[in-house]
């Protein structure tokens, strides 16, 4: 593609579009810095991305084919651009943050007869599904090669940014959603997601691999699985910056746990405790009393001061809580380990409780269309304030001034020299030569498509968070998130299940034992469980992907030997929330601009003063502008976008706040009416 040259000077050049980088981009652009935001991939959000099913298949493909690019004549080009008194620091072209990727398919590969015939889609010719499923024993490389035939990729695998167009309707709705009660929201969502085929019929039918591919666009599969604490750093930032207007959210409906071979609901809110059938009335009182204490535990140091040096687990035991309750509090509410100290456990419990009741009966929110939306929302904010975006466009090397040891420019993959005062880069672009320490941890991930919920209930449209304590003492605790189709991440009739834990080995080794406990994994594709009723009651796994993702969150600036105006953003960490990445973004921003406010509220379109007289000319819609590479979209366009959709009113952030005030904190004792 012949592209025009980029401007030759920016305040900040940012490489990588993960959450941290995107927040920094939005924050810098918002206060008037000129920002160039690049990513070598053809999709947004890096390891935070979410993919359609077919998009994921091509991502797997890319992973398999990735290899070190030999130093080419390009190096000659950039070498020639380095002046005297300058050093070149080359960046890595290889992303090694993902490893041990394996895919297994258990869905039947039979063709769907009638439907297939009616709608012959060229890209869905019996694309080698059988090859995948045969590969159930390990060497799956070949299978992937065949699954993502070229035509599939071309016609169906959309990059997440293209997906913006597909998901257009949500833009019109999002204003009200966050403030509405979850029930009506669910209804709306189920309307949104209802497939042309009757969903009730669909449930009855066996879901074939064909079907998954055909309905692939209904999936939004995140590489990172996280939830948003309703009073966490990310939600606060979304509200404060007005970026929340670009996304909509769904409450997590329930918290589950796996215990004594059974999935149980964790009573965490006042309503849950009241309705719980598994707790005795005395347990109800003990639980409520303990949780009320945790809400302001700092006020009662006498209660826990003897335990500050001891594990939280022992403190719980000392409080004479029953085993039931100890399990719930330790694993599902505080979500800490056996060894966590008392104070940390109390803080975690307190945070959980403070998040209750802000938007629903659990502390968590999940962005519709997947977590991958969030970095894109910040990119959008950056673009609205003049940031320039280029995908499939990277930086070859940094130009460092020998005297000051600062980066003064970068040379991009098209051989253009672009000067900048700060350079922000995602960790995976750094070569090993620039590293002082390579002591990273790993995250084990599994992504499953299943045919029913691990705990069916009245509503089949609930997002569930499941905590799974270590099956053996040496194993890590596993966190599982089960997404329903109304979260816009999977097709109706299926559930998308994410498992995450800190690695002790390969992802498959870490997670397969848990999966086989909770799900039915057939030996022959499409086969019904023949064993006892117990096995039949478990949800069946249709498709599963394992991989390890590098967790660089333990690294800091001393881990790299880089100039002082290069800021490295480590990737996603293994925790449930994104607070770590948001705090990192804020600290990088303050390094770059110590005197500026971090993400102040974006003004409402009607409050913006334009230089020209009269109403501004209507520019192209926003979606076009972000999707075109290297297109500059100005604040005026934002104005135009808003005129198009009247629902995006200025009242929106206020609404989000007003919800906060209305919803009573669920755990506080009710005041007398």
């Amino acid at each position: 593609m012949a592209a025009e040259d980029l401007p030759s000077q920016f305040d900040v050049v940012i490489l990588g579009t993960g959450l941290t980088e995107s927040v920094i981009a939005a924050a810098c652009s918002r206060v008037g810095q000129s920002v160039l935001h690049l990513d070598r991939r053809n999709y947004y959000a890096g390891n935070w991305a979410s993919f359609t099913f077919n998009g994921l298949l091509s991502w797997i493909e890319q992973y398999k084919n990735q290899q070190e690019v030999p130093i080419t004549e390009l190096e000659q080009v950039w070498r020639s651009l380095i002046d005297e008194g300058e050093d070149a620091v080359p960046l890595s072209a290889l992303d090694s943050s993902i490893s041990n990727l394996e895919v297994f398919c258990y869905a039947s590969e039979e063709e769907e007869k009638e439907e297939e015939m009616k709608t012959p889609l060229s890209s869905f010719q019996p694309v080698n599904a059988e090859t995948v499923s045969e590969e159930a024993n390990g060497d799956s490389t070949e299978a992937h090669d065949t699954v993502t035939g070229d035509d599939t990729t071309a016609s169906d695998a959309k990059t997440p940014n293209e997906e913006h167009e597909v998901s257009e309707p949500k833009e019109d709705q999002h204003t009200s959603d966050i403030s509405e009660p979850s029930q009506s929201q669910e209804e709306k969502e189920s309307q949104l997601s209802s497939s042309p085929a009757d969903p009730t019929v669909e449930v009855q039918k066996k879901i074939t691999y064909q079907k998954l591919v055909k309905e692939g666009r209904r999936f939004n599969i995140d590489l990172v699985s996280k939830l948003m604490y309703s009073r966490g750093a990310l939600v606060d930032l979304l509200i404060k910056s007005n970026v929340s207007r670009y996304a909509e959210f769904k409450n997590i409906g329930r918290i589950l746990t796996y215990r004594n071979g059974k999935v149980e609901q964790v009573p965490c809110s006042r309503a849950d405790v009241f309705a719980s059938k598994q707790l005795t009335v005395v347990e109800k009182r003990m639980l409520m009393k303990f949780l009320t204490f945790c809400l302001d535990f700092e006020q009662h140091p006498e209660e826990y001061q003897d335990y500050t040096e001891k594990p939280f687990r022992e403190f719980l035991k000392n409080k004479k809580l029953t085993e039931n309750l100890q399990h719930f509090i330790l694993h599902s509410i505080a979500m800490v380990t056996q060894h966590t100290l008392t104070e940390e456990g109390l803080k975690a419990t307190q945070h959980f409780l403070r998040c209750l009741g802000r938007y629903g009966n659990t502390p968590f929110l999940f962005p519709l269309y997947g977590l991958g939306e969030i970095p894109q929302c910040f990119c959008r904010m950056c673009a609205v304030f003049g940031g320039i975006y280029c995908l499939r466009h990277s930086v070859e090397c940094l130009v460092v001034d020998k005297v000051s040891n600062k980066v003064k420019a970068v040379i991009d993959t098209r051989g253009q020299r672009i000067s900048c005062s700060h350079f922000v880069v995602e960790d995976s672009y750094i070569r090993d030569e620039q590293r002082q320490s390579t002591a990273y941890r790993q995250i084990s991930r599994a992504v499953l498509i299943t045919d029913r919920s691990v705990l069916p209930s009245e509503s089949d449209q609930q997002i569930s968070m499941v905590t799974i304590p270590p099956l053996e003492s040496s194993a890590p605790a596993v966190r599982m998130v089960e997404l329903c189709s109304s979260s816009m991440t999977c097709m109706p009739g299926t559930y998308l299940v994410h498992l995450t834990c800190s690695s002790s080995g390969k992802a498959q080794e870490d997670l397969a034992p848990v999966i086989s406990q909770l799900f039915h994994v057939s030996t022959i594709p499409g086969e019904e469980p023949s064993e006892g009723a117990e096995e039949r009651s478990k949800p069946a796994v249709l498709w599963v992907m394992y991989f390890n993702m590098r967790d660089t969150s333990a690294l800091d600036s001393s881990s790299y030997s880089l100039p002082s105006n290069v800021h490295v953003c480590t990737g996603p960490d293994d925790s449930l929330c994104s607070d770590y990445s948001i705090k990192l973004a804020e600290s990088v921003f303050h390094h770059i601009l110590p005197d500026e406010e971090f993400c102040p509220p974006a003004p409402n379109p009607e409050d913006i003063i334009y230089d020209g007289d009269g109403p501004q000319a209507k520019g192209p819609g926003f979606d076009e502008s972000t999707n075109t590479e290297a297109d500059k979209s100005l604040a005026e366009e934002e104005g135009a976008t808003h005129e198009k959709s009247p629902s995006t009113e200025n009242s929106e952030p206020a609404e989000m706040d007003s919800v906060t005030q209305q919803a009573p904190l669920d755990m506080t004792p009710a005041s007398e009416e």
Binding site: A271, R285, M288, I608
Partner: protein, 424 residues
């Protein structure tokens, strides 16, 4: 710094808002004047509907305008076909819905909605029920909506069973809700009446259901013992049937005295003497006491003074559909008729005639809670009530100890005195 977006200053924004408000006020006042002029001119036309609609959609609490609208609608109704009337009132319902979004607690709106439904040739009660449910899911304590819902339920004939499930749902999502608990207390006796041995109208609930309800209340007050709503419901569950305990008539004084199982208002009392309803003035023991356990009245002079005649008296308590007869026989100077309960039972009448084993079990549950919450006043008070019902003398020490804990408040002092007085 370059490249910043220029934003209007707050002063500028304020000024713009102020002007906007002024403009709105002007428009509102002139429209209001026009409407009021039209009304005094007696014009009842489409234009009036439009004008009032404009005003009411910005201020739905303007009662005069709703009244005017009703006049106009009644006028328009006379000149229209039935299906046109239907359309007219249906669009009225849509309009009210929009007004309710402006103010969900507008008296005028809700009242007008009830009225429209009475005028509608074919009211759609299902839709109205849906509206109430939506409204209550946004604010479960909107009593305007609760009131309106009662009308809708009555008209649409929703089954009592469904309504009980409705309260299940509301209580499940938040049990701090008097409206739901109270509604439940009116539904239960209809759905699970106590099999009544005698023909007297029963307002009690059968025992099997009662046990389930006790459990529900336990769940609520063990979860949050400081929430009163469940305790009040529990108290209602434990409460005995309300009745007329005694009727006394004196020939010489020409006076009737009536005693009740609990303080009542005199409004629902009616006296029938020898088949003739009597106009009498009920007096309580103190003129300022509006609810009293004892009410007196003087009979018309000469009505019972003839000692040689027999008279039959009946006191009706219409509120509870109950009554008590009393016969004044020939030659008797006075007569009374009272509940068969013994004196001791009457003192315990705070609680029902449920099997004492059930009450014993309830006392145990409450004691269990008291162990966890030794200071909880609701729990203490309930325990005192239960102990007094079961065995006032046997539990005397404990009762007094609990009063010590409670005595901070005047009300408990009063109760304390009353209860210790009853020992004598």
């Amino acid at each position: 710094m370059h490249g910043r977006v220029k934003v209007k200053s707050t002063a500028q924004q304020e000024e713009e808002k102020r002007k906007e408000r002024e403009k709105k006020l002007k428009a509102f006042v002139s429209a209001r004047d026009a409407v009021l002029r039209k009304r005094s001119a007696g014009e009842h036309d489409e234009e009036a509907l439009q004008l009032t609609q404009q005003l009411l959609s910005s201020n739905p609490d303007f009662a005069t305008l709703w009244n005017y609208r009703r006049e106009v609608l009644l006028q328009l109704e006379t000149s229209r076909e039935k299906d046109e009337v239907q359309k007219l009132y249906e669009s009225e319902l849509h309009f009210i819905e929009a007004c309710l979004k402006v103010n969900p607690k507008s008296y005028g709106c809700w009242h007008h909605r009830s009225w429209v439904n009475t005028r509608l040739p074919q009211p759609d009660w299902t839709r109205e029920l849906g509206l109430c449910d939506r409204c209550l899911s946004l604010d479960e304590r909107n009593f305007h909506c609760w009131d309106y819902r009662r009308v809708v339920v009555k008209e649409s004939g929703v089954s009592v069973e469904q309504e009980l499930q409705f309260t299940d749902r509301l209580i499940g999502s938040n049990f701090s809700n008097y409206s739901s608990w109270h509604y439940r207390s009116t539904l239960l006796p209809q759905l699970h009446p106590q099999p009544a041995p005698d023909s007297i109208h029963s307002h009690r609930v059968c025992e099997e259901q009662l046990l389930k309800e006790y459990e529900l209340a336990h769940n609520a007050f063990f979860t949050d013992p400081n929430d009163q709503s469940a305790w009040f419901y529990y108290r209602w569950l434990l409460g005995r049937e309300e009745m007329i305990s005694c009727v006394y008539v004196s020939r010489e004084r020409e006076r009737v005295s009536v005693a009740f199982s609990k303080p009542v208002h005199s409004e629902g009392l009616m006296l029938v003497l020898d088949g003739q309803p009597q106009q009498v003035e009920w007096r309580s023991t103190h003129p300022r006491l509006r609810h009293s356990p004892v009410w007196l009245c003087d009979l018309p002079p000469g009505s019972v003074s003839d000692i040689s005649n027999e008279h039959n008296l009946t006191v009706h308590w219409t509120e509870k559909y109950t009554h008590r007869d009393c016969a004044l026989y020939t030659g008797c100077a006075e007569s009374w008729c009272r509940d068969s309960a013994t004196d001791q039972e009457l003192f315990r009448s705070e609680l029902s005639v449920e099997k004492s084993s059930v009450l014993q079990a309830e006392l145990q549950s409450c004691n269990q809670l008291l162990e966890l919450e030794p200071q909880n006043k609701w729990c203490l008070l309930t325990i005192i009530l239960l102990m007094r019902a079961l065995d006032p003398l046997g539990h005397e020490k404990e009762t007094l100890a609990h009063f010590q804990t409670l005595k901070v408040r005047k009300y408990y002092h009063y109760l304390n005195e009353r209860y210790s007085g009853s020992r004598k």
